[in-house]
Subunit: 219 residues, 2 copies
Amino acid sequence: MRTAYQEQLTGLSVQLGEMCGLAVVAMERATQALLEADLTLAEQVIADHEHIIARNRQVEQSALRILALQQPVATDLRTVVGSIHIAADIDRMGALAVHVAGISRLRHPDCALPADVRASFAEMGARAVQLATTAREVLLTRDPDKAARLRDEDDAVDAEHRHLFTLLIDHKWQTGVCSAVDVALLGRYYERFADHAVEIGKRVVFEATGGLPMHKQMA
Amino acid sequence: MRTAYQEQLTGLSVQLGEMCGLAVVAMERATQALLEADLTLAEQVIADHEHIIARNRQVEQSALRILALQQPVATDLRTVVGSIHIAADIDRMGALAVHVAGISRLRHPDCALPADVRASFAEMGARAVQLATTAREVLLTRDPDKAARLRDEDDAVDAEHRHLFTLLIDHKWQTGVCSAVDVALLGRYYERFADHAVEIGKRVVFEATGGLPMHKQMA
């Protein structure tokens, strides 16, 4: 009986790892669609989001089942409740990839990005995908040291995001209001995607140590 | 013993109602600070967010305590787990009010809003505050009909948000890229604030009916 219970807990981690893998792919494709104005890829990201939504429900149902039938306490209880939070974070990461894809689709056949911010988004996209990849490893290994490193990786995304805003608000922006609005919102989507990956890390640290996760200071 | 347990469950609803009340006040003040370029009020919203963060932790700790000690099942289990989700939603609502206040502070002594979108933000702000107020009532009454009505109230926020974007992307926008970026982000903050209020309603319906909450389709 105890073995079945442990399997259920492990199963929850595996479900989360797979779900996070879907968010990695979603942001990878959304970034490629954005950089290359690839409508087919953008639409695929949007359509595939239903798989992430379905996984979110499965995780929550699995967690409720474990809570009802196994009545975990202490660390196991934190892990199960943490899984619900983490699934919600991954679900949002997927939704943010969909938002990126949505802007690519809206501007097609044009590229939503003016030439002078393409490198910035290539960088932010790569870092966001890296963060989600690290978060996925953290979910599968439950390594609190790696989880804590997510915050450092996020600093690079934040720095790129700030750089983007200096480009937007200096007086040399040449490509008009509409593209500035797209770029501002896109920057926000990447920043939030990275924040959710950091939240996952904080949850895993919390589960391992019992210390409540610290809130990221809002800018 | 059963009575103490019921009291704990009721206590959770009361905690959530009070927490949502703080989000109502935060968005009310953030909107006033935005419309009137009121730095003191903006800073108060930012400082007061710590109270919402503290409430979020209290709700999660209360929920974990109930799960560990009372081991609820069925409807009660959904209510307790739902409380954790709802507290996270309210926490984000507070954070979004802080983002609104942050833009007011950044632009002070100027007003972040050009004259021709002030009415739009007054409208969106009032509707967002109304949504949060309804969400608070729903948390205290657990009335699923009122909860379902939150979605209709959100439609008005979405409509105003779309209207704002038509103002931004038509070619008559006169106040430059920087203010367009502020307005786009502010619009997004109000829209997300309203979305979280709708999520609270869906959670309450879910708890009452056992039907999984439907995902809002991402634009």
